[in-house]
Symmetry: C2
Subunit: 151 residues, 2 copies
Amino acid sequence: METTRSQSARQEALRTVFDRCGLRLTRQREAVYSALCASDTHPTAEEIHRRVLDEGTISLATVYNTLQVLCEAGVCRKLATTDGSCRYDGGSHDHAHLCVVDTGELLDLPLDISDELLEGLSPHLLRRAADEMGVEIEQISVVLTGRRISN
Amino acid sequence: METTRSQSARQEALRTVFDRCGLRLTRQREAVYSALCASDTHPTAEEIHRRVLDEGTISLATVYNTLQVLCEAGVCRKLATTDGSCRYDGGSHDHAHLCVVDTGELLDLPLDISDELLEGLSPHLLRRAADEMGVEIEQISVVLTGRRISN
DNA sequence: TTTCCTGCAAAAGCTTTGCAAGTAC
DNA sequence: GTACTTGCAAAGCTTTTGCAGGAAA
């Protein structure tokens, strides 16, 4: 599913990010980041922990600490949910999500739809919002909440 | 700040909602709902508890239970945050929020901006998203994350 | 009177923290 | 060798739950 070449490319990319932030590249950090990127859902810290455990030892506390570090470095994002535990996104660009209330899942919308939706948010309006509220906008999040159609 | 007339109007509205859901109207439920509506920020359960305590006795557990009941009844909404505790919105219509990372605040955008932003999300696209994901969309949330401009 | 709601306290998550041992650089 | 990371366990938060007493209808 993934070539040796892209793996080392990712590792180099990761090394670059870590170097830039003055962070050391450890086995645990690499495993957490890989698990996060490999996932197509948005896993919770506990889910990442379970996946990484298959390939070696890591404590849940380290998963939390690593995710926090990665988020601060801008490599990944922490996503809000209403169900108690946060979820993480291996990317750092804005895109739209779907929260499925039946299951608690948090899914990406298809990329084309996501991009079009976000384009609908006028930069001029966003600028006005930022000015009126006295902030600099860092992220834009669109989340649809939906219920599975049962039939 | 608020006339007796609008208070009783609200109380009647609340009674209607409660009747429709087969729920009893108690002093605590009314106090929680009023505190929520009176707030212009989006309070956490703990903040609501503190405000309601000024006017009588209520336990934090009851605040949580009441908020859950009100959300299920569609009278208010639970808002997701990334900082551990959820926040609540006394309304039930979609509108855009601003999350201020410096303070953890969750604020409404000015209504005109909020409405225009949401109008930018094409119903046709939303419909397509719903179809492709196999869900029925219940809520649309737009959250800007921003950092206070310091100067 | 019956059924539902409240308060209390305890339990159940999720996340963070302190510190000794280990590892990247 | 030095400074940063990890693992463990414990603590800190937020939220939920069980149950006896109390209030709404």
